[in-house]
Amino acid sequence: MFDLDQGIAEWRRQMVAGGVKAPEVLDELESHLRDEVEQQEFAGSSPEEAFKVAVQQIGQAAALEGEFDKVGRRSSALIKDAVLTLAGIPNQYVDASMNTSSFEPRWATYLKATAFLAPALFLWALSVVFVVPKVQQICAEAGGHRLPGFVRVMLGLTEHSVLISGAIILLLILLEWRSITWPRYRRATVGIGTFVLNSAVLISIFVLVVVALTFAPALFHHGK
């Protein structure tokens, strides 16, 4: 007995192997295929025959991929994606609840995340070494204040940064290796993670500046 769903699953695998990979595009083509199958059956074909004709009608993956390549994505759309990614906002393809897409290749996601994180981490490392001790000194001399809680939490995390980044990398490797659903959420998760980390560093450095500015005048009083 011919199973249409099984036939379609096999057809999707062939399309993916042929280079048509975006799930959203495949969903749309599948919907088209099912319409064509219905039409063929309506015209009197057996389910199996209807499926065969419909698959032939829809064309080979290689030909389709060529067509999809030809059109490409407009540069404005690409820029929009880049801006959204920069802001850490999950892109529309990931956001569309039932049709998520591995539109962006894995290497691009990680490369972007690294590129966006590098300046922040570099600045934070510099701050921890050069700025934090100074600000701590200012706080202490201005009347025994402690650094604000947010900064203390960040410093605590920094102390264990090797352990934490090791754990995150291990988790990512595990997800890449084992999880089937991870590729759908990869871009959104990595994007949000990057955004949160960047923001945390920015806020910390800002808080350090505010603390220094607030307590510095007190130093003069103490000096007098």
């Binding site: 595009v25 088209h32 064309g59």
Partner: protein, 113 residues
């Protein structure tokens, strides 16, 4: 049996966007129905393929002429419906005027032969 020749490839390519916009201006529709509709209206002389149509639809969506949404139909199946946006109406008006120019030239030449 076809009466007369199929429309040439180049003309199909040039007319796909204006025709899609015209079809969507009548109401929301999806890829398969668009192909059927244009086939019927052309007396089987224009047969779009899915491999040509969907990339064009996606490009038009990127252009901001049309928008799409997934609609759940019977027994859990879903379909991607497209509808025309304001920019699409503007584009359609422009393209219609251009096609009107070409066919007007043809008409007036026919009369003067």
């Amino acid at each position: 049996m076809h009466v007369g020749a199929m429309v040439a490839k180049e003309l199909i390519a040039a007319s796909t966007e204006p025709l899609i916009l015209s079809l969507l201006a009548k109401g929301e529709s999806y890829g398969y129905a668009l192909i059927q509709e244009v086939k019927r209206l052309s007396g089987d002389k224009i047969e779009w393929t899915d491999g040509m149509l969907y990339p064009v639809l996606h490009r038009m969506e990127d252009n901001g002429w049309i928008k799409s949404r997934w609609v759940e139909i019977e027994n859990g199946r879903k379909r991607k419906y497209y509808s025309i946006k304001k920019d699409g109406h503007h584009a359609l008006k422009e393209k219609r005027e251009q096609w009107a120019v070409i066919s007007a030239v043809f008409r007036s030449l026919e009369q003067h032969v």
